[in-house]
């Protein structure tokens, strides 16, 4: 169970403090999915980064299964990212020096939850079985995104955070990738929090929230 309570976050810029999140509240129960929509700069990605422990909140609380993220040391946050969540980025962020097979299994092995059969299954499902020996730069954008999804799900995380996972893909590829993502999330039983600009993709998820000027639209938390 993920609970975000009254979270504030601002960044220091040359022009002064820039508030990005101004008291965000949301909840995501285990096994459910949530789409987060909003204009560019509305704070969607920042909220995702805060939940992933990539950034720290200025005030407010983020609770995971009742345990707060704030106050944790960097090593504990790293462990949270390693073992608690799966992350999918718009830019894929694969490790260029490792081949597809190593990229797929990387996080699961870091988390100590390596299951070769499951990874083989993921590779089959994601259409990557014939590409395992290739390096990321030898793949198309869609293929790279599928590797990123496989990597994120390989450790069967309790929570999958996806930041515009199909932002770089055409419409047909986006739909296909999302189909796969939803199917695999359902197989693993993970919760899914996805940032997207597309109302059509958002409609495929259980719930949708809108973030405007750093706040969840009233009545939509």
């Amino acid at each position: 169970m993920l609970i975000v309570e009254n979270v504030y976050k601002s960044f220091v810029t040359a022009q002064g403090s820039l508030p990005v999140l101004r008291g965000v509240d949301l909840q995501l129960s285990t096994g459910s999915s949530l789409a987060l929509m909003g204009e560019s700069g509305s704070g969607k990605s920042t909220l995702l980064h805060l939940i992933a422990g990539l950034e720290r909140v200025d005030s407010g609380r983020i609770l995971v299964d009742g345990q707060p993220l704030q106050g944790r040391r960097e090593a504990e946050l790293a462990r949270w990212r390693r073992e608690g969540i799966g992350l999918v980025f718009q830019q894929y962020n694969l490790i260029g020096s490792l081949d597809v097979a190593a990229n797929l299994s990387f996080q699961a092995r870091l988390a100590g939850r390596h299951d070769q059969a499951w990874i083989g299954h993921l590779a089959e499902r994601l259409g990557l079985a014939s590409l395992l020996a290739r390096y990321p730069e030898q793949l198309s954008g869609g293929q790279q995104q599928r590797v990123a999804i496989g990597r994120a799900l390989a450790a069967r995380p309790a929570l999958l955070l996806a930041d515009e996972p199909t932002g770089n893909l055409d419409e047909a590829s986006s739909a296909a990738v999302l189909d796969l993502l939803l199917e695999l999330v359902s197989e693993t039983g993970s919760s899914l929090l996805m940032v997207t600009h597309s109302a059509r993709l958002a409609s495929r998820l259980g719930r949708t929230l809108y973030l405007r000027q750093g706040r969840i639209q009233p009545g939509e938390a």
Partner: protein, 825 residues
């Protein structure tokens, strides 16, 4: 023109955003040029001084008559030749000693200005231009260089006092005169050198010497005609020393260029976008390459100017050591101050431009060839690198064959250095391939995701770090090689000195008469165990200056004169006047071995002796020959008793020394205790290698800077590679440690390869280069402690080079890492 200016301004704007890269390129060019020009400054100063020394009596007097045997001949020969119509002019040469805090030995040149061949230049001035009356005296004049005057601690017009208590004519400074030389009238010279009626040579105008009449029969036995060669001797003797310095300077220059190459290559990668935009805006390829070339030229000019200025400074700092080495080893005088020609400054700048072209030419070519629209793809780069690695390995194989060929068939110093250069270059070219292969093996054996990433990522970094690692390999191998050679030489030299300098006191008499008198006096003294006279004749064998030393038969030679090779009855044959022993370098030069017959030009025709022994004679650039004293005096009546080695009871040394000083007026330059002589010899040795050690350390420093700059410039792109790992749960501190581990892994492998390469280099130096340069071969010593020390120094250099960039990484804010997820890569 406008296009070039606009393109250039756009290109230069890159450096405002990347000042570190600009600093790297300028630092590389600055260091490379500084080290190269510094060495060249030392060499050109020394060569200019040799030229001045050899041009003391320059001009038409290009030929001379010299004694067939020995160093001097009677003045009567000169008188007889003048009467026969020969336009000869007499010269007497010798050395004067001056006592003082630092005893000084100066070459004295006595000339007869009235008979000098017309047009002869004396000390840079026409012979007739000076006030001859004042020169001939009384009291006469002693011409001296400002530098030598300073070393004597005297002022112009003062009269120097020799250690024999003789006063020179008033000193007059001549700026064109070579250092370490005093020119006086021949009459004064004969008095000062205690050689009344003696001459060293007779100068002849070259046109007369082309077809000279036959010498009178009596004189033909005494004299022979030969071209002037004193300067050539010095040049030949010191060539190897200067070549060694040049080789070290060139190595440092190349290592510095590695920095430039790495930084320029990175700037090209980062400016692909800019180049693409410029092309899209209508700048022609030619215009673009022209702008890049102009930019490179500007950088080279800036770096070159700084480099030449620092080179001058470096040379000034090292000049004292180099001058002391040249004086100690070769008796060559080099001024203590630099005075360099404008050509030297210009050639330094030209070298910087050449270096920049060499280091940046590849980038210019790539800019012209590569599709600029393609994005940088690390794995594709690595794939392209694999092809390069294969080509490099092939080239390295060819170079190794070349090195083997030079070793097997080469018979010159140039071939020896070509072998060294080929070997080092081959090793440097092979390094990336060897590292890649080692990492491939490690990759197969690594377990765990981070271990796999660690090795895979190290392989991916390899192309960017290869040049810096090559620089580290070369610098370390040079340090190991030269260090092992120097340390081995030191041990051999000290052991050899301990054996060879076994007498308690060494006495250099004023002349043979004094030596005989002292011998007779010592014979009856209590505490004197043995007086060993050394008779000496100087001659030339196959054009090479050789000292012929005659010794008496005494057991101490058998005990203390270390031989490299000998026949069973070597000392007996020598004592019987049937055998001779040769210094190693002379034997090599004359191509003689044990049992061979050695022809020597004696008074009654050629004498032959059998070679019965070979010995080391380190530090002596001239040939040395050991024969029986009786045999020598029988065949060379002019042989002089040059010194006495005294074996004394330890308790009597101080007392006897004092008595000798008082009774015969011998000063510290003529009476030296064993310990003092050893200390002096060791000091000369240390100073000889001081410049080498300094250049070595600087080269290692440059390699460290190369690695530092490569890692620093890699820093930004590394962030993009490390950020995903951080996002996946690897902490920043751990990432910093892993990155440090990667640098240390690559550096350790390089250091590991540098050690055997350095030992191989040491072998090349002692067994090939030394033999060609000096004529002696040293045993190869490997010092594990020294290797460990240098290995640690190499790792420490790498650690320091990696520390800065890693510190930056460890201090990165999460926001910087997050930005990697938002930026277009």
């Amino acid at each position: 023109m406008a296009m070039l200016r606009i393109s250039l301004l756009a290109l230069l704007s890159h450096w405002r955003r990347h000042p570190l890269q600009l600093f790297s390129i300028l630092t590389g060019l600055w260091l490379a040029t500084a080290l190269w020009t510094g060495v060249q400054a030392l060499n050109s100063q020394a060569r200019a001084d040799y030229a001045r020394a050899s041009a003391l009596l320059a001009g038409p007097a290009q030929a001379q008559l010299v004694a067939r045997r020995g160093e001097r001949f009677e003045q009567a020969a000169y008188v007889q030749l003048r009467r026969s119509g020969w336009p000869v002019s007499p010269v007497l040469e010798g050395r004067l000693r001056f006592a003082g805090a630092e005893p000084l030995s100066v070459r004295l040149l006595g000339i007869e200005p009235l008979t000098l061949p017309p047009g002869t230049v004396v000390a840079g001035q026409p012979g007739g231009a000076s006030d001859l009356r004042a020169f001939i005296g009384p009291p006469g004049q002693a011409w001296i260089a400002a530098d030598t005057l300073q070393r004597l601690g005297l002022q112009p017009g003062e009269r120097a006092l020799t250690s024999d208590g003789q006063r020179l004519p008033p000193l007059q400074v001549h700026t064109q005169l070579a250092p370490g030389v005093i020119v006086v009238d021949i009459g004064h010279a004969q008095a000062l050198l205690q050689a009344p009626g003696q001459l060293s040579r007779l100068l002849l105008p070259a046109d007369f010497a082309v077809r000279p009449p036959d010498l009178p029969a009596a004189l033909a036995e005494l004299l022979q005609l030969q071209p002037s060669s004193a300067g050539d001797d010095l040049q030949r003797l010191t060539d190897s020393f200067h070549l060694n310095l040049s080789a070290l300077g060139l190595l440092a220059f190349l290592v510095g260029l590695f920095i430039v190459h790495a930084a320029i290559g990175l700037a090209l990668e980062q400016r692909r976008g800019l180049l693409r935009t410029l092309r899209a805006c209508g700048v022609s390829l030619r215009g673009l390459i022209g702008a890049l070339a102009v930019e490179l030229g500007l950088l080279a000019l800036l770096g070159g100017l700084a480099g030449v200025a620092c080179g001058y400074l470096l040379a000034s700092l090292l000049l004292d050591d180099v001058a002391a080495s040249l004086r100690g080893l070769y008796g060559a005088e080099v001024a203590g101050q630099l005075s360099l020609s404008p050509q030297w400054w210009l050639s330094g700048i030209a070298m910087s431009l050449f270096g920049a072209l060499l280091a940046g030419g590849n980038s210019l070519w790539r800019a012209a060839q590569l599709p600029l629209l393609a994005l940088a793809l690390p794995q594709a780069w690595r794939a392209a690198q694999s092809r390069w690695l294969r080509r490099q390995a092939l080239l390295a194989g060819v170079l190794l064959l070349l090195a083997a060929g030079c070793w097997r068939f080469g018979d010159s110093l140039l071939a020896a250095f070509a072998m060294l250069a080929a070997l080092l270059l081959a090793a440097a070219l092979l390094l990336p391939a060897l590292l890649d292969a080692t990492l491939a093996v490690l990759a197969r054996h690594s377990r765990g995701p981070l271990a796999e990433w660690f090795v895979a990522d190290s392989r991916q970094q390899l192309p960017a770090l290869a040049l810096a690692l090559m620089a580290l390999l070369l610098a370390l191998a040079a340090s190991v090689g030269v260090g092992s050679m120097t340390e081995g030489f030191r041990q051999t030299f000290v052991g050899w000195l301990d054996q060879r300098l076994s007498a308690d006191l060494y006495l250099t008499p004023r002349d043979t008469a004094q030596a005989l008198e002292i011998s007779a006096w010592l014979a009856g003294r209590p505490g004197v165990e043995a007086v060993l006279p050394n008779w000496r004749v100087d001659m030339r064998l196959q054009g090479w200056p050789v000292q012929l030393q005659g010794i008496v038969d005494h057991p101490s030679y058998r005990r203390h004169w270390p031989l490299l090779e000998q026949r069973a009855d070597a000392w007996t044959q020598l004592a019987a006047g049937q055998g001779a022993m040769l210094s190693e370098q002379l034997a090599r030069r004359l191509k003689l071995g044990l049992g061979d017959r050695l022809p020597l030009p004696g008074a009654e025709g050629e004498q032959h002796l059998s070679v019965v022994g070979l010995y080391a004679d380190y530090g002596n650039p001239r040939g040395h020959l050991l024969v029986s004293a009786d045999w020598l005096r029988r065949h060379w009546s002019e042989a002089r008793l040059s010194n006495l080695s005294l074996r004394l009871q330890p308790a009597q040394v101080a007392a006897l020394k004092e008595q000798l000083e008082q009774r015969y007026g011998l000063d510290a330059t003529r009476l030296i205790e064993q310990a003092t002589l050893k200390r002096w010899s060791t000091a000369v040795f240390e100073r000889t290698f001081a410049a080498t050690a300094a250049l070595n350390s600087l080269t290692l420093l440059v390699a460290g800077v190369a690695l530092f700059i490569s890692l620093l410039t890699l820093g930004h792109s590394r962030l993009g590679q490390l950020a995903p790992l951080w996002a996946l749960g690897v902490g920043r501190t751990r990432l910093a440690w892993l990155s440090l581990g990667q640098t240390l892994l690559l550096a350790s492998l390089t250091v590991l390869l540098a050690m055997p390469l350095g030992v191989l280099l040491a072998w090349c130096l002692v067994a090939v280069v030394n033999v060609q340069a000096f004529g002696w071969r040293l045993p190869l010593h490997v010092f594990p402690g020294q290797l460990l020390q240098l290995a640690l120094l190499g790792l420490l250099t790498s650690l320091l080079a990696a520390a800065g960039p890693l510190w930056q990484l460890a201090r990165r804010q999460p926001a910087d890492l997050l930005r990697q997820f938002a930026d277009e890569r």
